[in-house]
């Protein structure tokens, strides 16, 4: 997605108190009535209230400007591909995954609320029902390059380095979206941090988040959570559960 089309900014005129605009392939309308600001989103025939904010006198006196900026969803994804990802011994594979975006509504540069542009199916990412994390299911196939650009999505590059002598067939992969930043490339497209999965000779996995390989112009959104080593190691069991090793 082009970053320019993802970042929209509209002042609400005092006279009409209303502004209509299109973004993220959806139609939006913001209505300012007395001290209440309401944002509606329409997709198809459905029009839904996304946000209802009571503004202070001070905010109203300086003028109201709303902005929508792209953001990554709040939970990790469990990537389900139509075929397992095969990784041969002593080899590296890399591919791109388009991540559907959400948006953040800001009023006078103050972030107010996540606008959920895509509803995802919930899933459990964990070895057992006692330990793990809630996530979203993402059913898509890996792309070998980032030339096929999709609307309302950001690219995340996944690198799997297999330094062991074992052949891996990965059925599900976790994409740690809450820990990733969102960047605007010099070409004007949106990318997230790269995710490198290193499988050591002793079959232990190591996860690292790295800046995108493309030239980055600016950071569009910072991570929602701070990444910790403990968090990633919690999913070691899950990786083994969804991976066939031979």
């Amino acid at each position: 997605m082009k970053a320019e089309s993802a970042l929209v900014r509209y002042p609400i005129p005092q006279e009409s108190g209303q502004v209509k605009f299109s973004a993220y392939e959806r139609k939006f309308s913001a209505v300012l009535h007395e001290n209440r600001l309401q944002l509606y989103m329409s997709s198809g025939r459905k029009k839904e209230l996304q946000s209802d904010i009571i503004l202070s006198e001070k905010t109203l006196s300086t003028g109201v400007e709303i902005a929508l900026s792209p953001s990554l969803p709040d939970k990790p994804f469990s990537l389900n591909t139509s075929h397992p990802i095969h990784v041969l011994p002593w080899s590296t594979v890399s591919f791109f995954i388009p991540i559907p975006l959400w948006a953040v509504l800001s009023v006078n540069n103050i972030p107010v609320k996540d606008i959920i542009l895509h509803d995802f199916s919930k899933t459990w990412i964990g070895e057992t029902g006692q330990k793990g994390d809630l996530g979203y299911t993402l059913c898509t196939d890996p792309l070998s390059d980032d030339r096929k650009l999709l609307p309302d999505a950001a690219y995340t590059e996944i690198i799997i380095e297999n330094k062991s002598k074992v052949f891996f067939s990965i059925a599900r992969l976790i994409i740690y979206t809450p820990f990733k930043s969102l960047y605007k490339s010099e070409g004007g497209y949106l990318y997230t941090d790269r995710q490198r999965l290193l499988i050591n000779p002793n079959n232990k996995q190591e996860i690292k988040l790295l800046r995108p390989s493309v030239a980055v112009a600016q950071i569009v959104a910072r991570p929602r959570k701070k990444a910790t080593k403990d968090y990633f190691s919690r999913f070691a069991g899950f990786f083994k559960k969804v991976t066939v090793m031979s």
Binding site: S78, K122, T123, W124, G129, Q130, L134
Partner: protein, 280 residues
């Protein structure tokens, strides 16, 4: 009048016990303030490292032990013979021990509950058929608040002696639906429809996958079990949405949910009860 009052005041102020009483009072007040400060510091130091129950027990333990010691010291200062008090306390202890057997048993059970941690404040538990949210865990009892806003007090010994179901212990739960379908229905198609309903429901988790089981050839139909995993807070949402979706989809797909019919007979065993409809 004035001279009488002055005389009384003089006798009070020159009483040999007065310094002792002032000292005892100062000790009592100072001790209480120090203990309050100490328990506050202990509570702060323990922070969120320990459970609220353990924190509460430690604070109360420190406070009451400290108060007992201060009182004993103050009484000693006031010239009360401690041997007599201890003697009386011994006899009183036996008497109280017999009288407060249940309470002491509850206190000890409370300590076991705190160390075992079968649940904590805010959990939804079921004890002897009573379901509610744990409101507080005290020395003698736990308090539940039911969903219809009733207050239930359960003695700690009951918790120790009976089985307790902690519904919200784990982040995931499975909701089991038992459905009956008519014998004429295609089981494979029904399974496909149920799985489709489950996977499209936003509250039902994709993983762990929904569980389907052909349970039984029952009297009035084939009994099926559909187990759906959900995040523990989505219970009501899932239950209401999935019931509606199954009902609507079965109706749309023409899948029959059989239910037992009751016929009433009036006297004669062969003839059914006559039903007369009035013409308008």
């Amino acid at each position: 009048m004035f001279s009488e009052f002055a005389h009384f005041l003089h006798s009070v102020l020159t009483h040999p016990l007065l310094p002792k009483i002032i000292w005892a009072l100062a000790l009592l007040i100072g001790g209480m303030i120090t203990l309050k400060l100490l328990t506050y510091l202990i509570g702060k130091k323990m922070g969120s490292k320990y459970s609220p129950q353990f924190r509460m027990l430690t604070i109360k333990g420190v406070y009451y032990t400290g108060m007992t010691l201060i009182l004993l010291y103050v009484l000693q200062l006031a010239g009360v013979k401690m041997s007599a008090i201890f003697g009386a306390a011994g006899i009183a202890g036996i008497a109280i021990g017999f009288a407060a057997q249940t309470s002491i048993s509850n206190i000890i059970s409370g300590l076991f509950i705190v160390s075992e941690k079968p649940f904590s404040i805010g959990d939804i538990i079921e004890v002897e058929g009573k379901l509610g949210i744990v409101d507080s865990m005290d020395l003698i009892s736990i308090k539940l608040k039911t969903f219809d806003n009733l207050f239930i007090r359960i003695p700690n010994t009951t918790i120790i002696n009976t089985h307790v179901v902690n519904i919200t212990r784990y982040p995931l739960r499975r909701m089991n639906f038992t459905l009956n379908i008519a014998y004429k229905e295609d089981l494979g198609r029904v399974q496909e429809i149920l799985m489709d309903i489950a996977l499209k429901n936003p509250f039902c988790l994709d993983e762990p996958a929904p569980y389907f089981l052909i349970k039984d050839f029952a009297q009035s139909g084939i009994s099926l079990l559909l187990g759906l995993w959900f995040e523990k807070n989505d219970y009501t949402n899932l239950k209401n949405s999935i019931m509606t979706e199954i009902h609507e989809r079965f109706k749309k797909e023409g899948i029959e949910i059989p239910f037992p019919h009751i016929s009433l007979y009036a006297g004669k065993s062969t003839e059914p009860f006559p039903v007369i409809t009035k013409k308008q």
